[in-house]
Symmetry: C2
Subunit: 232 residues, 2 copies
DNA sequence: CCTACCGATCGGTAGG
DNA sequence: CCTACCGATCGGTAGG
């Protein structure tokens, strides 16, 4: 299969979500089981035999779909890093109040990780030190720079506390991580949406100079038909 | 060597901090290199040969100091989980305003991870699924319950926003993690202390109903000789 | 997608 | 703390 663009990946994931993993094409089932086992046992702890046994094929058959074990990892890292980096970068250069754009990004981010049909908990930053995966460091840098750009725009506009700037990417990473973690448990969509909003509001409360901005931004977002991670 | 109590572990770590790792006893050097390599390559990715080569001994010599590779991991998990759990539990049952105790705990926590001479970045929660390590789940539960206890006390006292309760352990975990990460870079102690205080204030801003409580608590803490992680 | 198989590396033991 | 060595498992290839 040819290399997919980010948009194609997003569309493909959206289509998969409508079907149980057991009915996915073999290639996607390999990704699914690999993600699950890497999350549970780490990249080196999840063997290609573990993965293929869970899929229900013999170990060498895996290499018909992926050139190497690392190629699977790279595909998962693209979902973890490349797509959020592109979205954050886009919003950091968009029109509108910084406080509104940060809120919009956080809701998108938490939905992206929360609705992800693959378990990305094993995608640790330290994996980027593996030979051959250094390129993903650029995505991580793009993401951090984009978030910090929005926050600095907010400080310049007087919307955000200056002291909090350095903490935002840290807290956002921690929250996205926890969203990924809790999303693996069965929950109803309404509870999940409420949790995502609660997480975004937590960050805004720590950031804004004027608490009235929070209510204003939330009201505006609730009125607007939201552009979701999956319907682009 | 007999099993150490938490207090003995803390005292031992404090003593090590005064000496470069190259001069530590072999057993501690094994812990040091194991922590470093597990952080970089994951538990299964860091082999006993990697570790012993870094220490400067032959691979089988390791088993004179530890019964198994997992025994090393267990010792590192105790530093990561058991000691903070005990400290949080203690503070959750102490006297004083909840907002002050949460601030006190956060400064202790960030200092604990920030001054740790071993690299604990590889100590992922998922490792607790390994057979033989289930007992550490109890420490993690103790920690979460203790933090949530303090936060609920704060809500009951009218000091904290009710909505934020569920986010605190998540955000604290993310922040401690980032403190561990950045602590591996060389920094002067004054900058590090300022960063720890900034992280604690970020959480308090998201939590408190009355911003004046923050200034009051910080002023009180700055006046009191602080009880640190290492001088007990 | 399969069977058969490769060299390399794994955690751990025996015995000094 | 060492040398010598064990069986098990690793990622990947050959050839159909």
């Amino acid at each position: 299969m040819a290399v997919m663009t980010n948009d194609e990946r997003v569309a493909h994931l959206h289509a998969l979500r409508a079907v149980p993993p057991a009915e996915w094409p073999t290639r996607d089932r390999i990704l699914y089981e690999a993600a699950r086992l890497i999350a549970a046992k780490g990249y080196h702890g999840a063997s290609t035999r573990d993965i293929t046994e869970a899929v229900g094929i013999r170990q060498p058959s895996m290499f018909n779909h992926f050139a190497s074990k690392q190629a699977i990892l790279a595909e998962l890292l693209a979902l973890e890093l490349s797509i959020p980096a592109a979205r954050a970068d886009e919003l950091s250069r968009a029109e509108g109040r910084p406080v509104a754009r940060l809120y919009q990004y956080m809701l998108w981010d938490f939905e992206w990780y929360g609705e992800m049909p693959l378990d990305l908990r094993g995608m640790q930053e330290e994996l980027l030190d593996e030979p051959g995966l250094e390129a993903f460091r650029a995505d991580l840098e793009t993401w951090k720079k984009a978030i910090n750009r929005i926050v600095r725009q907010g400080v310049a506009a007087g919307e955000f506390e200056k002291d909090a700037v350095g903490m935002v990417t840290t807290v956002l990473t921690g929250l996205s991580w926890e969203i990924v973690r809790t999303a693996q448990l069965a929950r109803d969509p309404r509870t999940a949406a409420k949790q995502r909003k609660g997480a975004a509001l937590f960050v805004l409360r720590a950031l804004v100079t004027d608490p009235r901005d929070i209510a204003a931004v939330v009201d505006a977002a609730d009125d607007t038909p939201r552009r979701t991670a999956t319907a682009r």
